[in-house]
C-alpha cells in the first residue's frame, strides 16, 4: 500500500472536498532502509464518513489514539489518527491522519462506528471532552467524566 494511492483515490472521489495532503517519511534502522510513513489528509466535514469508507477500501483502518484537536478562531480542527496495512508486510504499516475542520457554531460530525466499530469509546470521549456532537453514535453516554460536569469540556482551550 502506497500513500500516493490513497491520495489519488481521495482526490478523484472527494474532489473539492479534499483540501490538502502531506506525506512525511523518516528513515529507520541502522542502514536507514526502513521508512516510517505518516500521511495527513485534510477533508471537509461533509465527506468525512465517505472518506473513512474510501480508506476502508484499502483495508481495515485501526484507530490509533483518541481524536486530538486544535482550536482556531471560528473552527475546531479534529484529528483522527488511523493506521493501515498492519499485520501485512513487515514495517509496511502506514499512519493515515484525517483532519477535519468543524465550525465552532455548529460542533457536529458524523459517527463512523458503522465502519470502524472500535472507535466508539473515542467518539464518546470526543463528545464529553470537546463538546462535539457525534451524530448517529450508537451509544452517546459519557465515557470517563461524571454527568455532573454538565457543559464543561476539559480538553477545550
Amino acid at each position: 500500500m502506497h500513500p500516493d494511492d490513497i491520495v489519488a483515490r481521495f482526490s478523484s472521489e472527494l474532489k473539492g472536498h479534499f483540501t490538502a495532503s502531506r506525506i512525511q517519511e523518516t528513515a529507520e534502522g541502522l542502514d536507514g532502509s526502513k521508512k516510517r510513513v505518516r500521511l495527513w489528509l485534510s477533508i471537509d466535514r461533509d465527506v468525512f464518513h465517505r472518506a473513512v469508507s474510501l480508506l476502508k477500501e484499502f483495508g481495515p483502518p485501526h484507530i490509533c489514539t483518541p481524536m486530538a484537536s486544535k482550536e482556531y478562531g471560528d473552527t475546531i480542527e479534529l484529528i483522527y489518527p488511523f493506521t493501515m496495512n498492519y499485520a501485512a508486510e513487515p514495517f509496511g504499516e502506514l499512519v493515515v491522519i484525517l483532519v477535519v475542520d468543524i465550525p465552532r457554531d455548529d460542533l457536529r460530525i458524523r459517527s463512523v462506528c458503522d465502519l470502524v466499530p472500535g472507535i466508539l469509546y473515542m467518539e464518546r470521549e470526543t463528545m464529553e471532552m470537546l463538546g462535539i456532537i457525534i451524530e448517529d453514535i450508537p451509544d452517546p453516554r459519557r465515557l470517563f467524566t461524571p454527568d455532573s460536569l454538565g457543559d464543561t469540556y476539559p480538553m477545550r482551550d
Binding site: 493506521t83 498492519y86 501485512a88 513487515p90 476539559p154
Partner: protein
C-alpha cells in the same frame, strides 16, 4: 416448568481482580452472562490536561506514572511523538538502549500477568512461582536503572544513562536465568491439564472481532491478528531485526482460537522472544552518544521554537501505546492525546464475556492483562429490587471451586 430468570449483576467499581476501579454490569441468565456493559472513568486523572502545564521534560515523568508496570512504554511513545514533531534525532545507541529496557519490562509484565491469571483460577502455587522468577528481571532493571519501576531513563532525543560495560554481564546473566527456567515455566503454563480445561474455549475473541474492535497486543495476536507495532512500524532497534515476527498460536502449530489459553500461549512465547531481542541488542550495540541534545534546558529551548505535530507508537507488553502530541511555540505540549492498550482492548471484553460462566468472569477479564485493578465487592440486584452484596472472596471462591472440580476430573 423450566423458567430462566434474567437478572442484572454489578461487579465494581472495584472488582475482584485488579487494583484500579471499573464497573461491570452483567445481565445474567442462570450461571451464564447474557450481556455486559462496562463503565470506565472511576480513576481518570486528567493527565492530558495536567501535561499542558508541565514543560516537555516534566511531562516525561508525569507520563511514566500513567502505568507502574509498563512505565517505560508511555514515555517511549511520548518522546517519539515529540521527536516526530520536532525532527530531533535519536542516536543509534540510545535506540538500542531504549529497546533493551522495553523488552526487560515486557518480561516482567508478562510474568506478572501469568501470576495474576494463575491466582484468578485458584492456582496459587503457580502464582508464587511466576512472581518469584519475576524478581530476577526486576533486580536487573533496578541495577540497570536504579528502580524496579518508573525507571526515568528516557529523555527527548535519547536516554539519560548509558549501558556501561559492567552492566552487560548483569543483563546476560538475567537472560541465562530465563533460558534455564523457560522450559519448566512454559510446560506448567501451557501443558498443565487443569489450566487447559479452564482456559481453552473460554473468553473467545474471533479474528473478525479483533479487527473490527481495533484490539491490540497479545489479545489481538491470540485471535490470529498478527499485529505488533514492533514489526509493523519501524522504530527503535526493531528494523534491524529481519528475523522478528509477531507471535501467534501458529508458532506452536495451533490454529488461533482467540481464547484465554491462546493469550497465555502468546505471552509465554514472547518471554523467549524478548530474550532473543535483548541478546541481539547486546551483540550489536552501536558505539556513540546516548542523546542528541545534552541538558533539559537545551531541549526545552529547542522545542519552544517548534510548531508541529507528531505521533509516537510503541508495543507495550499489553499492546499498542500511542501518543499524538501538538507543539506550538511553547515549552509545554499544547495538546497531547494518550491511548493505552486497555483503552483499545476494553471494548473486546464484551464479546469475550458474552456466554461465559460467572465463575470464569475473573479469568476472562484478567486475560487481556488490563490496567485496572483490585476489587472488593460485587452486588446482585434481583428482579424484585432486593440487593445482595457479595465480597471479593466469594467471587474468587467460585473460580477456585471450579478449579478444584477441574483438577479432580483431571486426576480421575
Amino acid at each position: 416448568m423450566d423458567k430462566t430468570i434474567t437478572y442484572p449483576l454489578q461487579i465494581g467499581p472495584t472488582h475482584p481482580a485488579f487494583k484500579e476501579p471499573v464497573r461491570f454490569s452483567f445481565k445474567v441468565e442462570g450461571e451464564r452472562v447474557a450481556g455486559v456493559d462496562i463503565d470506565l472513568g472511576y480513576t481518570h486523572r486528567a493527565i492530558e490536561v495536567i501535561s499542558k502545564e508541565r514543560n516537555f521534560i516534566q511531562t516525561i515523568y508525569l507520563l511514566e506514572r500513567i502505568c507502574g508496570i509498563c512505565s517505560v512504554s508511555h514515555p517511549m511513545a511520548y518522546c517519539m511523538a515529540v521527536e516526530d514533531a520536532s525532527g530531533i534525532e535519536v542516536p543509534p545507541r540510545a535506540r538500542y538502549i531504549r529497546t533493551i529496557i522495553g523488552e526487560l519490562e515486557r518480561m516482567h509484565s508478562h510474568l506478572l500477568w501469568a501470576g495474576v491469571a494463575a491466582h484468578e483460577i485458584g492456582f496459587d502455587t503457580l502464582f508464587l512461582y511466576t512472581w518469584n522468577i519475576r524478581e530476577k528481571v526486576l533486580d536487573c532493571l533496578e541495577q540497570f536503572t536504579g528502580n524496579r519501576v518508573n525507571y526515568a531513563m528516557l529523555t527527548i532525543g535519547g536516554v539519560r544513562r548509558d549501558l556501561t560495560d559492567d552492566l552487560i554481564p548483569v543483563i546476560e546473566q538475567t537472560l541465562e536465568y530465563y533460558l534455564e527456567v523457560y522450559q519448566r515455566t512454559s510446560e506448567i503454563l501451557l501443558d498443565d491439564q487443569s489450566i487447559r480445561y479452564r482456559c481453552e474455549g473460554t473468553g473467545i475473541l474471533t479474528y473478525d472481532q479483533a479487527v473490527a474492535l481495533c484490539a491490540v497486543g497479545p489479545t489481538a495476536r491470540a485471535s490470529g491478528l498478527a499485529k505488533d507495532v514492533r514489526v509493523d512500524y519501524p522504530m527503535l532497534a526493531y528494523p534491524d531485526m529481519d528475523w522478528l515476527k509477531p507471535i501467534t498460536p501458529l508458532d506452536i502449530g495451533k490454529e488461533p482460537a482467540g481464547d484465554v489459553y491462546d493469550r497465555m500461549v502468546v505471552r509465554v512465547l514472547e518471554l523467549k522472544q524478548s530474550v532473543d531481542i535483548i541478546r541481539f541488542c547486546l551483540d550489536n550495540l552501536p558505539e556513540g552518544p546516548i542523546a542528541s541534545i545534552n541538558g533539559s534546558i537545551k531541549i526545552i529551548n529547542k522545542l519552544k521554537k517548534v510548531q508541529g505535530e507528531g505521533i509516537g507508537r510503541y508495543e507495550a507488553p499489553r499492546g499498542e501505546v500511542a501518543h499524538y502530541d501538538i507543539l506550538d511555540m511553547s515549552e509545554c505540549p499544547v495538546q497531547m492525546k494518550v491511548k493505552a492498550p486497555t483503552y483499545s482492548n476494553a471494548f473486546a471484553w464484551v464479546p469475550m464475556l458474552q456466554g461465559s460462566e460467572i465463575a470464569d468472569i475473573p479469568i476472562v477479564i484478567a486475560s487481556i492483562d488490563p490496567c485496572i485493578a483490585c476489587a472488593d465487592r460485587m452486588t446482585i440486584l434481583r428482579d424484585d429490587g432486593a440487593t445482595e452484596t457479595l465480597n471479593a472472596e466469594y467471587l474468587h471462591s467460585l473460580s477456585v471451586n471450579k478449579m478444584k472440580e477441574v483438577k479432580s476430573r483431571c486426576s480421575g
